[in-house]
Assembly symmetry: C2
Homo-oligomer: 381 residues x 2
Amino acid sequence: MRVFGIEEVKGLSKKADYERLIEEFGAKPITSDLVSRFKLDHKFIELKLVFAHRDFDHYLEFAGKGEVSIVSGRGPSNYMHLGHLIVFDFIRWLQEKTDAITYIPLSDDEKYVFGKVKKLKDGWFYAIDNALDILSLGFKPGKTYLFISTRMQKIYEYAITLSRYLTYNAVKATFGLNDSCNTGVIFYAAVQAAHILYPTLERNLPVLVPIAMDQDPYMRLTRDIAERIKVVKPASIYLKYIVGLTGEPMSASKPETCIFTSDTPDIIKRKVWNTLTGGRPTVKEQRKLGGEPDKCVVYQWLTVFFYNIKEAKEHRRKCLAGELLCGECKRILIEKLNKYLVTLRQKKKKMLDKVEKYFLHEVGDLIELYLARIENREHNC
Amino acid sequence: MRVFGIEEVKGLSKKADYERLIEEFGAKPITSDLVSRFKLDHKFIELKLVFAHRDFDHYLEFAGKGEVSIVSGRGPSNYMHLGHLIVFDFIRWLQEKTDAITYIPLSDDEKYVFGKVKKLKDGWFYAIDNALDILSLGFKPGKTYLFISTRMQKIYEYAITLSRYLTYNAVKATFGLNDSCNTGVIFYAAVQAAHILYPTLERNLPVLVPIAMDQDPYMRLTRDIAERIKVVKPASIYLKYIVGLTGEPMSASKPETCIFTSDTPDIIKRKVWNTLTGGRPTVKEQRKLGGEPDKCVVYQWLTVFFYNIKEAKEHRRKCLAGELLCGECKRILIEKLNKYLVTLRQKKKKMLDKVEKYFLHEVGDLIELYLARIENREHNC
């Protein structure tokens, strides 16, 4: 079933890359056979937002027989936007579906060595904020574990263990580094491998990694390492990019493309009001010809973030029939976004008292740091 | 004062390298001015075994005014030999002299990424054994801290912090690496810098690093980093190699060159009996011409490990006068080595109950691992 053609949106046309992942790098498409065999009844799969995998079938077979795990990281260099959150919501569904122990590494080291934050401390602030957002989605207590990479001794220990199986040549070839890069960037390939293989090394669990396609090089390196150290290779599934409000891919470094969890109603209104639609030049034409939902970011956002398939189809029908004007749709989206964020913030506030329990290491000092900055920010507003 | 010419011993002639350190790399000689100004009354300084430094004078000035620190690491890939121990004994003297907080990093990561141990676990075994040896020398409780590098979260955190100031190019040029080296080897330069700067980053203390000359490249990189992050550059003093029993430098990978703390009386007897002396071909010639102590390893070992300067001079006089035969000297050395090791082992045994207190991280599981292996080894003897 094809609800909308996300690839056709301007600037987001990664179709060629999606195909390359399968044709050149040996990932497999998510087939209807796989979907029906394992009853994968999630909207994202139906929408083909999840489009390829490596060994996902093996992972699902393991899940039928014993304990499995999911690893899905977050690089804490900013507030989360809804594109990040919806992916974690999909992961929450995967956790439920496969009863998986879920590990969420917060890679402050990555963001720091790549210069995305000035100081590790900045990474810690966002790590706590992001953790609160993610946990507000409803991950299972006792089955969900977070850690901040530089705070986790075991990660360094495992990264060192794996680094002996990872040469500079391999890292250089995979990421196209040059010799003037810093030593942290090089080592991060081993750290990422340690994140991915943590459940296997620590508890002998098979791992599934849901990732965006641009993270696949890490996956390939890690699978090579797993083969060399003779442990089960981690499985992966690949998510497409979700279109941003400007038509480009969502990116935290381009605020107008996305809605942050910290955005106020005013900001949301402005961003949505400026977005791309599939509307006609005049109301008259719109009524007569109907809109073009496949070119409309508002329609795609409603579908990805809020509608079920039936609602999406109905909206599409109405739009094509000229029954909807762009202003109406925008108002619907704004309302839903605000409602979603109000609820999220309430949950987030409650999560503050519980968040420590989800961490694999002490985090009390970082929560204090977080609260102090939040207060300071509110004070300065 | 020159008691003996350690440079002239076969295979140990690093004179050119010693000079290069000063002439090319900008270290400074330890002058008699410095020695008298700070009353540096240690045998090693008199023997010129400690021969060069960077900013040692600044460090000593700091020590007169406030708290200072020493960092001196150990790579745990084998049992310690007496050459290692005597250096730590010198460090113990420095601790006393400058009332320094002394940090002793045990770099299991280094030994593992360079392939000197097969598994990190092997490094941990030796780390505990080495720690017991070192602490048996009498370092001050409450002023002496050990840690095993991969077990110490803060070291990874600081290594990441510093890695941004250390490019692959710099590491490559300093150590002559090639691109097929593993990623752990590259990152270790940042880890070593984190060991050295730990007291400065953690407690804002000036640091002194007593090292063998071959470690100077790490020192130069770390001083460059310190300058870039605007903290006090670590000071260093350089120790010469002590001659081994075969005339080569002592090396744990060549057991005949050294006495391990684990050597039995039989092994000690064999090793010393086979060593080089400055003896004449016949007893008659020896009595007539006298021995040649400057070519004699036994004389040098007695001087470095056991004699004070007065005793060394007296032994030298007797040898030159033909009053000593090589067999006698060997017997004296064997007796002193055995006595030393018996005492050390007694102290080491008592240290087992206290060793945990000296560590900056939990180490209980590693002590258990250590005891299990020791028992297993004794069981198999």
